[in-house]
């Protein structure tokens, strides 16, 4: 799986907002607020082919978490990304 390239992560003040601008001429845009962890993972995964294992590796590299917790969080995050339609 990969992240959709048309989604844009923007900083607005202290917040990070992911903008899904929708199809070219249709005004059906959506916005999502990201926390720091989601931002870091998003930036790490951009443009790459990845799976739950790669997400888990990012978490283990950047946060003080155990294997099990990282696995759980990675599965949850990928599920969220999938549910929101961020993946191709």
């Amino acid at each position: 799986m990969k992240l959709r390239v048309d989604l844009q992560l923007r900083q607005l003040g202290d917040e990070h907002i992911l903008v899904d601008p929708g199809r070219d001429h249709l005004d059906v845009s959506k916005v999502f607020t990201f926390n720091e962890t989601a931002v870091q993972i998003w930036l790490e995964l951009q443009g790459k082919e990845f799976n739950v294992e790669s997400v888990k590796a990012v978490l283990l590299d950047n946060y003080e978490v155990g294997e099990d917790e990282a696995e759980r969080d990675a599965v949850a995050l990928v599920k969220q990304f999938e549910k929101r339609g961020f993946l191709i």
């Binding site: 923007r10 607005l12 601008p21 070219d24 005004d27 845009s29 916005v31």
Partner: protein, 366 residues
């Protein structure tokens, strides 16, 4: 009469200057704004098609001074849609350039994405349509023929302009470079085109090269186009931003004394002095980025009021819209508008003010 001094309009220009040149907000004394004032400001930005530039200014405000969250998000999304449209426009440009090249045609891109490159952030300039210039009557005719062969509906406006939609993208083709109507300088205009014609620039889109005019011609083309619209239905703030960004971007490449002499020869210098003052006073263009010194303190407020009322190429002039929808719509209100502009601009660009209505109605009659 528009009150350019009112609070929302003062803030509008302050944010515009900040966004154009990435400078701190120069009228912080006007903040904070109420939600209603922010709503009004956003509407102004939309009307003048400068939402992207203003948003850049908005982001420089401290959190406590920014618009309400809902408006901020709406604005963010709007800017993202502008960026999305610009990416799409680039793909349309590439398709069109390849199409013309296939038929051994090499048109020059006017305004639009070419001028956008002069902005600090080209992606936030709202693009309109694609304008191509063909530098010979044969090339212009051939381009029209090829577009026609594709089955696209081509409409002509006068001898030198045609337009059509390419996959939903509005395209204009031109056989004449400048909107200069004074019949006594047409020979000189042709000489200018020849003199600078070999100094073309290129816009690189992926591996596709699109030709742009030499800086001197780009400046002349954009500025005389603005004047033409001022004489017709008006011009908006975004078009003025184009002129300011062109001057700032190319100021080292354009010989100021030469440009001044050209304006003089075209009988446009008085108009240019007011126009330059407006770019400095309202848009915050640095004086040293102008091609030559300001003449003296010119009154440019009347010209900005004119632009403010008109919006994007005159599409938003409420007086005009009211008349267009009224009982005596069409030709009569068009005439009234052009007549009013004639008197307004006569002292500043006399030959263009006189020639434009004549050529305009002659072209319509052809």
């Amino acid at each position: 009469m528009i009150m350019l001094g009112n609070k929302e309009i003062t803030v509008f220009f302050s944010l515009l200057r900040s966004g154009l040149w990435h400078r701190p907000i120069d009228r912080l004394d006007c903040f904070p704004l109420t939600d209603t004032e922010w709503g009004q400001l956003y509407q102004y930005a939309e009307k003048q098609t400068v939402e992207g530039i203003l948003f850049d200014g908005v982001q420089q405000l401290e959190a406590g001074m920014q618009p309400p969250k809902t408006l901020l998000l709406k604005w963010l999304v709007r800017v993202e849609k502008i960026r999305q449209r610009n990416r799409w426009m680039d793909t349309m440009l590439v398709e069109q350039a390849l199409f013309f090249n296939k038929h051994n045609l090499h048109p020059i891109l006017l305004k639009g994405q070419g001028v956008a490159q002069c902005y600090r952030d080209p992606t936030i300039r709202l693009s309109g349509d694609i304008d191509w210039y063909f530098d010979s009557p044969a090339a212009f005719a051939e381009a029209n023929e090829q577009v026609h062969k594709l089955g696209l509906q081509l409409s002509s406006s006068g001898k030198y302009n045609s337009s059509y939609a390419w996959k939903g993208c509005a395209v204009d083709q031109h056989g004449k470079l400048f909107d200069i109507h004074n019949p006594f300088v047409q020979g000189y205009v042709g000489q200018l085109e020849s003199a600078y014609g070999d100094n073309k620039l290129a816009l690189l889109l992926g591996e596709t090269r699109v030709s742009l005019l030499a800086p001197m011609l780009q400046i002349l083309q954009v500025n005389t186009h603005i004047l033409k619209h001022q004489l017709a239905f008006g011009v908006g703030i975004r078009q003025l931003c184009d002129a300011a960004c062109l001057y700032a971007y190319y100021h080292r490449q354009v010989e100021g004394a030469t440009l001044r002499a050209i304006y003089q020869k075209l009988n446009l210098l008085n108009w240019v002095h007011v126009f330059h003052q407006l770019l400095v006073d309202f848009l915050g263009l640095d004086r040293d980025k102008l091609p030559f010194e300001l003449n003296k303190q010119q009154n440019c407020t009347w010209m900005m009021e004119d632009c403010w009322t008109a919006g994007n190429f005159g599409f938003h002039d409420e007086n005009y819209i009211r008349q267009e929808n009224g009982l005596f719509s069409g030709r009569k209100s068009t005439f009234k508008k052009i007549w009013a502009n004639f008197w307004k601009y006569l002292p500043y660009a006399p030959m263009e003010a006189i020639s434009f209505p004549i050529m305009h109605y002659r072209a319509k009659a052809d």
